[in-house]
């Protein structure tokens, strides 16, 4: 059994009187692609927010590398190796692609006042390193020629790639992608699949929230199904596609299938 990187136990989030996420267990193993699916409003995005520290759980625990992190802020979670992208792309539109990526490299720069004011050798070195790293990632994602363009000049698909690149700049062990393929053509979806596989092949675990069943069934090693904030199934794609609860949640009917 491979190592468990992230372990969430009985995580719950309550908004007012509504349980957005209720007593969900998630564990992300090293090197796997974990799919999270569920109907709209099932709590997928909230669960991702909890796992990345943007949302404090109302109850439950999260462990990263066997250390409890439920009280940490998002930037500290990033430090521990959790990177993510958003369903609605969050990039700085007025800045260029490379500038956006450099922001993602923040943790790997020298940023003490003395280094910055003195322009020390190690400061120069780290700046050069993250710039090189950013260019390398852009090449890998096939948008190297767009490095100097502003985000506002890019297509939706390119922006998604830039956002994934920015998340990779933080050198995550686990990358959480929130509907990375929303609004993509079938061809673009295929390219996205290749991209996600290549990320996994670099040893990064991927947690994938996706509506496109084709994408998720072909990529995921394991799938968690959420409905009304609760986990109703957890298993391989094959098991999931035969699970009665899942079918009922998606089709809505009684013994329909």
């Amino acid at each position: 059994m491979s190592k468990i990187l992230v372990k969430a136990e009985q995580v719950s989030v309550k908004f007012g009187g509504l349980w957005a996420v209720k007593k969900v267990d998630v564990d992300v193993k090293a090197g796997e692609i974990l799919g999270i699916i569920g109907p709209n409003g099932a709590g997928k995005s909230t669960l991702l927010n909890v796992l990345t520290g943007l949302q404090r759980p109302s109850a439950g625990q999260i462990q990263i590398d066997n250390g409890y992190v439920s009280k940490k802020d998002a930037w500290q979670m990033v430090k521990m190796g959790i990177g993510r992208s958003f369903q609605t792309i969050r990039l700085l539109n007025e800045l260029t692609v490379i500038e956006n990526l450099l922001i993602g490299g923040h943790l790997y720069t020298k940023r003490g006042l003395l280094d910055v004011l003195g322009r020390t050798v190690r400061w120069r070195k780290t700046e050069q390193q993250i710039t090189n790293k950013a260019m390398e990632l852009l090449q890998l994602l096939g948008i190297g020629h767009k490095a100097q363009e502003e985000i506002s000049a890019l297509s939706l698909e390119e922006r998604r790639r830039v956002e994934i690149a920015r998340a990779l700049m933080t050198r995550p062990k686990v990358l959480l992608l929130d509907e990375p393929g929303a609004g993509f053509s079938p061809q673009e979806s295929d390219q996205l699949c290749e991209l996600i596989l290549s990320i996994r092949n670099r040893g990064i675990s991927v947690v994938l929230v996706e509506h496109n069943m084709k994408v998720i069934m072909s990529l995921a090693d394991r799938i968690i199904v959420l409905d009304h904030g609760q986990k109703i199934a957890d298993g391989t794609p094959k098991e999931i596609s035969e699970d009665e609860l899942v079918i009922r949640a998606y089709l809505g009917g009684e013994d329909h299938a």
Partner: protein, 335 residues
């Protein structure tokens, strides 16, 4: 890269020339106005760190300015510190004040932050007015000794202008270095989108505190300069009006740019001085011009000008490139 370096050294050179030429200025009136303009520029630079780069409103900048001035005033008159030590103390004290003010207020956003910082400015002013045993109340502090540098007294306006210009240059240089680093990128990201900053591993709270602290420190130095120049300070200089003027200067000049605040301070000084003859009417005209500029140049005066210049620059460069290509082709065909 190379072009940036040339630009950088040109700016340094221009700064040096300004400092040296200030020593030859004769007109006392212009000298005094110029010193006030330099102090106004430094204040605008300080608030620009918050408003321009980090996207945090500060309507209490005069509070830091006043604390800096009073620190220098009190330490030099009551405790007979040297001006330089007092100036350093003013910087440290205002940085700390910025940090402490930032602790609760950086959790606030937009209007709420504006009101909180406004409150800070007013509280500081009230303290100046009412803690009579320490601050002298409304009478202020008199007889602050003008600073001396290598045995030369800076009470002569020429020298003081040169000195304050030098301080401004150092501050702008420091801001340039900080802004063009991971710190500046973090600030920029916070201004645009805090959640992006969070998931990029940026400690949003910490970087906001840092902006508050640096901004306070720079305003404190401006206050120290003011005290050293005027040799007399009183609470009404550091009131709400002053805070508003400071933030207006930065916004008018071009927030989030290095030279915007300097341009803003220059333009506003020239404007208010040239309208002086109009007495009461000048206030109306002055504000009317402000409104007009904000409406027509919302991004500020400096970005507007630099964009125009850059467009022209790019056009001429393209022409140059075409010309070179023609020449290359000619060479090629000849060989």
């Amino acid at each position: 890269m190379n072009r940036n370096r040339i630009l950088f050294w040109t700016c340094i050179l221009v700064g040096m020339i300004c400092i040296l030429s200030s020593l030859y200025l004769q007109n006392l009136y212009i000298l005094r106005v110029a010193v006030f303009a330099v102090i106004a520029a430094m204040l605008a630079v300080s608030v620009n760190l918050l408003v321009g780069y980090t996207g945090q409103v500060s309507l209490g900048q005069a509070g830091f300015y006043g604390i800096g001035a009073y620190t220098v005033g009190l330490l030099t008159t009551q405790w007979h510190w040297s001006f330089w030590l007092a100036l350093l103390a003013a910087f440290i004290l205002t940085s700390l004040t910025g940090l402490i003010l930032g602790l609760p207020t950086t959790q606030l956003k937009g209007h709420f932050l504006g009101i909180a910082t406004l409150g800070f400015g007013i509280i500081v002013n009230v303290i100046f007015n009412n803690w009579t045993s320490l601050t002298g109340g409304p009478n202020g502090i008199r007889g602050i000794a003008p600073p001396e540098l290598f045995g030369i007294s800076l009470q002569y306006e020429n020298y003081f202008l040169g000195f304050s210009l030098f301080c401004l240059m150092v501050v702008v240089l420091m801001v340039h270095l900080v802004v063009n680093s991971a710190i500046g990128r973090a600030w920029k990201c916070i201004r645009h989108d805090e959640i992006s900053a969070q998931v990029s591993g940026i400690n949003v709270y910490g970087y906001k505190l840092m902006a508050f602290s640096l901004s306070g420190g720079i305003a404190g130095i401006a206050g120290g300069l003011y005290a050293g120049f005027m040799t007399f300070i009183s609470p009404e200089t550091f009131d709400l009006n002053q805070s508003i003027t400071i933030i207006t200067t930065a916004i008018l000049g071009g927030p989030g740019t290095l030279f915007g605040p300097l341009v803003g301070a220059g333009v506003l000084t020239v404007l208010s001085e040239s309208l002086r003859a109009l007495n009461e009417l000048r206030l109306i005209i002055y504000r009317a011009i402000l409104v007009t500029v904000i409406v027509f140049l919302p991004e500020g005066i400096y970005p507007f000008i630099s964009k125009k210049l850059r467009k022209r620059g790019i056009a001429s460069q393209l022409k140059l490139k075409d010309r070179r290509r023609e020449l290359d082709e000619q060479d090629f065909s000849q060989s």
